[in-house]
Symmetry: C2
């Protein structure tokens, strides 16, 4: 099967023009078919501040009220997505930027039944595999903003890590998919403040043990849960690591590899 | 040849949620392959006001400085484009929203040599006909935001009327293309303030005469010049009229038809 590399780029890289440009250069140089999913970074928060739209947080998670949804739609699907696409086009990559609403790429429903009302937040129901397949076969590199829709006209704010996982899984029947979560840290760290404590490889047994020891930074746990879920759904390999070391992550010489066993 | 309807929807409709919803319902009901190009409306101006980004105008045209480019990218390619796509998806249309940067759909260059520096404004060089063809053949309805790129990483603000014309022309070799400029007026009017003075048909001879008589509202002249240019480049028919009468415009029973002779 042909390979596809699905890469999630985290918010801290997006907030840093120089780091983003370096990442996009390495991304452009990555051979083969590719999908890029970007997070939102702090631009949306800064815009909300300027517009005096108060941002409510519960347990570190943003509540997406109607005004905040307008802002994240503008920032994620507009500003960030189109600037990434333009930079990739300049680097010779035939990038095409989509939200989950476009071509019904990622269908979701408004989150219900949670302890808190997170507002216009979408949990994913389905990925339009045939659209992805069509675009990839036409040598388009798909750049995805973390905005979905519910097919009833409602846009929804959706976690970019989860979108990357859902997209990677959805094409695993057609391609050998490697899923890379890239961000500002060097991988899964034993000590969140020490970038030299990367755990090079985590299998399910190691993961259970690390959680029991409390040896994994809490913020990493959803990422790792997503990674193991992706493996069980047919994704070939999941790598977590520093966006500035993209070639090494793809080679497997940097970051943390999440493996079946 | 199969028909494609290329429709430009003007700013005043976009500013009015009810009018836009009614238009999108009629658009969804229009049979066959379709492309929708939307303008920006006053949302960008309102956002610029809120963000205290001063808007400079020369002869009624906005100067797109770097801050304004950020705003129009967010509003046109983000907010408006994705909301239209979500509404069309809800109406059962497989809409996919793109800017000119996406898939190199519309390549442009920064305007030079004008009497004034309009800033980050793009004049169109080329349309990616094969991408449009690919999407239309896969039954995608393409929704285009008036933002282009220069293939060097720069996004550019581009006139939506001109984009509609360039897109219509670009596919005229593959399809029988009808180009509809829809807005808040009933067509080309003899008296700009009287919606009952629609000129039903304009050919080149009539056009020359109307201009000589000063019988056409000055703001219509670029639209008509674009319309005649499109006809000479293979577009089948150009119709100018009220967005609320879309079925009648397409049938030819409302609005102004621009014809060769």
């Amino acid at each position: 099967m042909e390979q596809v590399t699905v890469i999630k780029i985290g918010g801290n890289i997006i907030d840093n023009d120089a780091a983003l440009a370096q990442f996009l250069k390495a991304f452009a140089a990555t051979p083969g078919k590719k999908v890029l999913i970007h997070g939102g970074g702090k631009l949306a928060t800064r815009l909300a501040d300027k517009l005096e739209v108060p941002q409510q947080m519960i347990d570190g998670r943003r509540i997406t009220d109607a005004e905040t949804l307008r802002i994240v739609t503008m920032v994620y699907a507009g500003f960030i997505n189109k600037n990434i696409v333009a930079q990739l086009q300049a680097a010779g990559v035939n990038a095409i930027g989509l939200s989950g609403a476009d071509g019904n790429l990622v269908l979701a429903h408004k989150r219900t039944g949670a302890a808190h009302d997170y507002g216009f937040v979408g949990d994913i129901d389905a990925v339009n595999t045939s659209l992805l397949h069509q675009l990839l076969e036409n040598d388009n590199t798909v750049v995805v903003a973390p905005i979905t829709h519910d097919a009833k006209g409602q846009l929804l704010n959706t976690n970019a890590d989860t979108m990357a996982q859902a997209i990677a899984q959805s094409i695993a029947a057609h391609y050998q998919v490697n899923l890379v979560y890239s961000f500002e840290k060097s991988g899964v760290l034993r000590n969140a403040d020490d970038d030299t404590t990367v755990i090079p490889k985590i299998d399910p047994a190691t993961y259970t043990q690390l959680k029991e020891e409390g040896a994994i930074f809490a913020g990493m746990i959803p990422k790792l849960d997503n990674a193991f879920a992706a493996l069980t759904k047919g994704v070939n390999r999941v790598i977590i690591g520093n966006a500035q070391h993209l070639p090494q992550l793809i080679e497997g010489t940097s970051g943390t590899s999440i493996v079946h066993e």
